[in-house]
Symmetry: C2
Subunit: 433 residues, 2 copies
C-alpha cells in the first residue's frame, strides 16, 4: 500500500515553558526536513498560554491563545501536544482532546503515573495515538524501545537513574565529599533544583517514572501510589565515603522487577558496584537499564531533562503520529495492560543491604552481631571496620540477599544491644552478580 498524500499535520501546543518553547524551536528548525523524513509537513496552529500579552521572542504571537476551547473547536488541529505539566487541568484537556478525536502527545509523567489507565483507555476507545516518550528519561528513547523493539522479551528488571537533580547532587557529594545540604544548595544555585526540591529529593518524580516503566514492562497497571519511595535526604558524605571504600557508588534508583508473578516497584538510594554500567552515569544524566529474557542487559543513556533534549523526544512522537495519520493507522498500540499482577509485600522482597553502625570496639562484638544475623538468616558478604579510637569503631556490612522482614528483625535486635552505639544508615545494594 503506497503512502497516502497528506498536506500538513496541524498541532496545538499546550504550554510554552521550557519544553513547549523547545518543541516550537525544533519544529522551526526541522521545517525543511519534515516532508522528506515523513512525507508531510508539520505546523503549529495554536499555542495555549496563560498570558497572551507576554512578549515571547521568536514566537509568532498570532498563534497564542488563552482559551483551550478554541483549540478543541478547531477542526484543522490534528494533534494536541500537552506540555503544561501537573495533573489539572492537563488531565481534563487531554481527555477533551481525545474526546474531540485529536491525537495526543505529552511529556506529563505526573498525569500518566496517576491516570494512565483512564487516558490509555480513552485513546484506545477512539483509536487515537497517545504518545509520551518524553515522560520518562527526557530525551533518551526508552518508551518506544521498551514497547516495540523489545516487545519479543519478557522484561525481568528495569533499573533507572531517572532524576537528574538527585543524580547531580549525589555526583557532587561523591566527587567533592559534600554533605547533602551543601550539594542541594549548589544544585539550586545552578538551576538543577527547583525552589521547592521536594519532588526530586524525596524521590516522588522518580517514583512517577518508575510507575510508568513498571506498567509498560509488566503489562499491569502501576500508579505512582503503588511505588514505594524513599529519597536521598538521609544520605551522608560518610555513607558515600565508606561505600566507595567497599567498591560502590550511591545512586537514586527506580527499580521495577517481576519476581514470581509479583511486581516490585520502588525508588530508593542504593549502592551499586563501581563497575556497573549505571555507576558512571553522572551529573544530570539519566540512564535506564533494562533486562529482558531474550536480549539480556541493555542500557539507554542521555539527557533526562532540558529544553531541547526533552523537545527531541516530543518531536519524535509528533512525527510518529504524523506518519500514523498519513497511513490512517492511528491507535496502533496493542493492549498495554493485559495482566493484573499483585505487588510483592515489602517485607518479602529479598535484597542486599549496606548497614553502617557505630559499635564498641572490643572482643565479642562481631560474634554478637553474627549471632543476631544468623538467627535471622542474614549472611554477610563484605565487612569493613574503621577504628574511631576510644574503644569505638564504625562498622560497615554488606549482606547477602535476604528478605527485608528478616533483615529488619535483625536490625531491631541489634539496636537493642548495648555494644551497638547507633545505626548510622541502612541502604539497599543492587547490581551485584
Amino acid at each position: 500500500m503506497a503512502q497516502k498524500k497528506l498536506g500538513t499535520v496541524h498541532i496545538a501546543i499546550l504550554g510554552l515553558g521550557t519544553v513547549g518553547g523547545g518543541v516550537y524551536k525544533l519544529i522551526e528548525r526541522q521545517k525543511e526536513n519534515f516532508e522528506k523524513k515523513i512525507g508531510c509537513q508539520i505546523a503549529v496552529k495554536k499555542i495555549l498560554v496563560r498570558n497572551i500579552h507576554k512578549i515571547r521572542d521568536g514566537v509568532d504571537a498570532s498563534l497564542l491563545t488563552d482559551n483551550f476551547d478554541e483549540i478543541i473547536r478547531d477542526d484543522e488541529i490534528d494533534v494536541v501536544v500537552e506540555l503544561m505539566g501537573g495533573i489539572h487541568p492537563a488531565k481534563e484537556y487531554v481527555l477533551k482532546a481525545l474526546a474531540a478525536g485529536k491525537q495526543v502527545v505529552t511529556a506529563n509523567k505526573d498525569l500518566i503515573a496517576a491516570h494512565g489507565e483512564e487516558i490509555f483507555g480513552a485513546a484506545a476507545e477512539k483509536g487515537l495515538d497517545f504518545k509520551f516518550e518524553a515522560a520518562v528519561a527526557g530525551g533518551i528513547p526508552v518508551i518506544a524501545p521498551l514497547m516495540k523493539s523489545l516487545a519479543g522479551n519478557d522484561i525481568e528488571e528495569i533499573i533507572g537513574i531517572v532524576n537528574g537533580t538527585t543524580n547531580f547532587i549525589l555526583t557532587k557529594m561523591t566527587a567533592e565529599g559534600m554533605e547533602f545540604a551543601d550539594a542541594l544548595a549548589e544544585a539550586t544555585r545552578l538551576g538543577y533544583a527547583e525552589a521547592d526540591p521536594t519532588a526530586d529529593v524525596e524521590g516522588y518524580d522518580a517514583g512517577r517514572k518508575c510507575a510508568i516503566l513498571s506498567t509498560l514492562a509488566f503489562h499491569s497497571w502501576v500508579t505512582d501510589k503503588d511505588v514505594i519511595t524513599e529519597g536521598i535526604t538521609k544520605i551522608t558524605a560518610a555513607d558515600i565515603h565508606f561505600a566507595k571504600e567497599m567498591g560502590y557508588v550511591i545512586k537514586l534508583l527506580a527499580i521495577a522487577r517481576e519476581v514470581e508473578g509479583e511486581i516490585i516497584s520502588s525508588v530508593y538510594p542504593a549502592l551499586i558496584p563501581q563497575e556497573h554500567p549505571l555507576a558512571s552515569v553522572n551529573d544530570s544524566f539519566n540512564a535506564v537499564f533494562i533486562r529482558g529474557d531474550a536480549v539480556g542487559d541493555t542500557m539507554f543513556y542521555g539527557r533526562g531533562a532540558g529544553e531541547l533534549p526533552t523537545a527531541s523526544a516530543v518531536m519524535g512522537d509528533i512525527m510518529e503520529v504524523a506518519v500514523d495519520m498519513l497511513m490512517d493507522a492511528c491507535g496502533r498500540t496493542g493492549e498495554v495492560c493485559y495482566r493484573k499482577l499483585p505487588f510483592k509485600p515489602q517485607g518479602e522482597i529479598a535484597n542486599r543491604f549496606f548497614l553502617r553502625m557505630h559499635v564498641e570496639d572490643k572482643p565479642g562484638v562481631m560474634a554478637a552481631i553474627a549471632n543476631v544475623f544468623g538467627i535471622n538468616n542474614v549472611s554477610m558478604k563484605q565487612l569493613l571496620q574503621k577504628s574511631l579510637g576510644a574503644d569505638e569503631a564504625e562498622l560497615m556490612i554488606v549482606t547477602e540477599k535476604v528478605k527485608e522482614k528478616n533483615f529488619r528483625n535483625a536490625l531491631r535486635l541489634l539496636t537493642e544491644m548495648e555494644i551497638i552505639k547507633g545505626v548510622s544508615n541502612v541502604i539497599r545494594v543492587h547490581g551485584l552478580k
Copy 2:
C-alpha cells in the same frame, strides 16, 4: 480508526543457524502473548534450510524446506525473515520476496551495507516493510530509535563499538596485558572469534555497520566500500599500556560524522578517555553513542550478537510488521536518503593523534620534534616520556586536533630524522571535549 481484525501473520524463516534458531525459540516462547501485545498471532509456516534431513531438536520438521520457491509461491506467507547472512543468495531471495509482495525482516548487515539502496527502493516501490534492527549492534535497539525517536534531530556524530569479537580481544589485552595474537587465540578458543577472524579483526564487519548507521544518520547512501577501515591487528600491549598511563583506553570504533556538509565514515582503533561512556563497554558488549543537535549525547548499550539477543531484535521487527499489516500501514518509512553528501577526503579530516616513538634521549630532541610539529600546524596536548636506558626513550604524544594531511607530513619528516629510532604506532584519539 479501530484496529482491523487479522488472525495470524505467517512467516518464513530463511536459515536456521544461531539467529534463526533463536527466533524460532522466541516465537514459541511468546506464543501466548502475541495476541495481547499486538492483536494477532504470529506463526512460522516454513523454514528454509540446506539439509532438511538433519535432525533439529525442538523444531517441527514439517516446516523445513530446501526450496525457496515453495516459500515464494505460498500466498499465506506474509513475512520473509532472512537470517542466512552473506550477499548471495540472500540478496536474490530478499528481492524475490519483495517482488512477490512479502514484507521482509533481516539481520543481514553485509547485504544492506552493499545493496541497501536497491533493496530499500524495491520495498518502497511495493509499499512493503523492510526492517533490519538486528543488522547493527544485535539486540540493542538502535535502528528504530535513530530512525524514529530521534527523527527530530540533525544527527551530528555516531561513535559505536559494534563488533563484539574485537571488543573482547581489546578488553583481554587491556585487563591482562596480553598481546593481540594471544588474545585472539583466547577469543577463538571461547567461540568469540570465528576460524577465519579476518572480517572482525580487520574491521570489515564494523565497517558494514558503520555504513548502515552513516546512511540512516545523514540520509545519504553510504556503502561498505565508502567506509575507510582499519583493524586492530597492529595494536600492541605497549600501546594499551601507555595509553592507559595517559588516561585512555583503546577501542575499535565505528565513526560516522557530518562535518561542513561532508560525511566521515570510518572504522579504526582509537584512544578514548577513561571517563567516556564508551570506555567501560567491555568484553563482547556493544554500544552506540549518538549525538543529535537537540538531544545532545545519548548511548545505547547491550549485547551485539548471540542467539537470543539478536533474535530479540528480529522479533521486535516481526511484531512491528505484524502491527503494520494489521493496520494496513506497511511501507511507512519516509525517504531514507533524500540528500547526496560527498565524503570528506581523509587528509582533510581533523583528529587528535596518539603517536608513540622510540627516540634518542638527549638534549635537543624535543626541540627538534616540536619544530617539525610547528611547521605542520601540529600542537601537542599531552606528552609522556619513558626512559629505556642507554640514551634511548619511548615518547608518547597526544596532539591537538589537526588535519590528517598535516599530521602525516609531520610524521614523514620525523621518520627521516636520525634522532627518531622508529615510530611504534599512530592511533587516533576520540571523545575528548
